[in-house]
Symmetry: C2
Amino acid sequence: MTIKRTAFFISDGTGITSEALGVSLLNRFEDIAFDKETLPYVDSVEKAHEVVEKINIAARIDDSRPLVFDTVVDDAIRKVIATSDSFMIDVFAAFLGPLQRELNEQPSTKVGRTRITESTHYDKRIEAINYALENDDGARTKYYDQADVILIGVSRSGKTPACLYLAMQYGIKAANYPLTEEDIEDQKLPASIKGFREKLFGLTIEPDRLALIRNERKPNSRYASMKQCNHEVEEVELMYRRERIAYTNTTHYSVEEIATRVMVKSGLQRRC
Amino acid sequence: MTIKRTAFFISDGTGITSEALGVSLLNRFEDIAFDKETLPYVDSVEKAHEVVEKINIAARIDDSRPLVFDTVVDDAIRKVIATSDSFMIDVFAAFLGPLQRELNEQPSTKVGRTRITESTHYDKRIEAINYALENDDGARTKYYDQADVILIGVSRSGKTPACLYLAMQYGIKAANYPLTEEDIEDQKLPASIKGFREKLFGLTIEPDRLALIRNERKPNSRYASMKQCNHEVEEVELMYRRERIAYTNTTHYSVEEIATRVMVKSGLQRRC
């Protein structure tokens, strides 16, 4: 029998940190099915009372107390949440005390200011997002000199999402160029990218997964056939190795993992 | 005198969680300047030894021990990191014990499996990213029936990055439609969006920030003038209120905060 528990990720901001931490902890308990809910912007005592009600309802339905992962800055709000019928993981409380002693400074208690939104930081990301959009899918190659990295790979190997994530998370200007059948047959780097060899990073993907993705796009086409996918992937991987282009396989990874692998393997430093 | 400390965010995965948590904790200590470095994919004892060396060099340079935020799953790797000359915040160790007692289950120790990359989860996001790209900037309006939300706003108010983030983080299909000068002069909802009133969400921005952004795009143009920006923003906010369209101001927020506000204010549920 699978046990079911409810988990809440509560924050006075977006809740993204609280959720990411909570999920990674809960994933370690594989025999339990968790109903997960993120509650962002709990930034007043009133909202905290509503949250308590929500938690207590879940406790009654489940007949066991929900888990609460909380990254709320304000003490008064946290104290209200603590009155709920829950098992509470108070993330900041756990670490702020030790950090305060180590740093010999009182932590500030400004609510919701946990992420400093510096204008230059924001601008860097927007600039990088615009760059990714404008230099997507080989649409424009004349600004490759401005790229931090140029992702290459066969059609549908995951280049566009990886470029967007590189922009959004790291402020990296990532262009991408699709390796066409002609490029592959030629067995050499296409003219528009060969001058940027040091910026190239290859993506590859398992042929059966590629066929599945392509079939959604163009069902029963030659383009989506196993034969064609096998051929393209094989040739492209040969090209990467022959041209000594670093590459990674995207099949089993999330967008953030692919982007982070590109960062690490190509030695890029974040720009924001 | 500003004190300088070095902080490392160490993970066997992307390090994104460890970094987000560490940064939000460090932001609470406003008098200290932190040199931050994220070290992802520390997934072997050998890499852990390299990390120790890195930490110890920073300790000698700073003449004070670095802070280490670590979300490594494997005990052996963590033990190596713990031999460094650092103040270590061991995130998993702090919470796994209490969780284990509460859930009455031994946590799994599979390295790097903290994020389960389910294929459906990935597909949802990719589908949403493709939707955002294909329905960006009013390029195509005939698929608005498939949208979870349609962001509207004047040119350069931050619609595109918000749509992409909604897709990437929440699997939400977000289209966007730019309100042109003609739309604004007409003082009514444009024909292509008025049938989707319940999906509309407005973005607005402070006029001086808008003028700054537009000036980068088209310096000294009428489009970028304070007068024009003032006018457009004023009229668009009037329209939102008159048409009872929920809206948010993007000026002081990061992309993730804008996206999360859209989620909360429009009552959207994540799709992945």
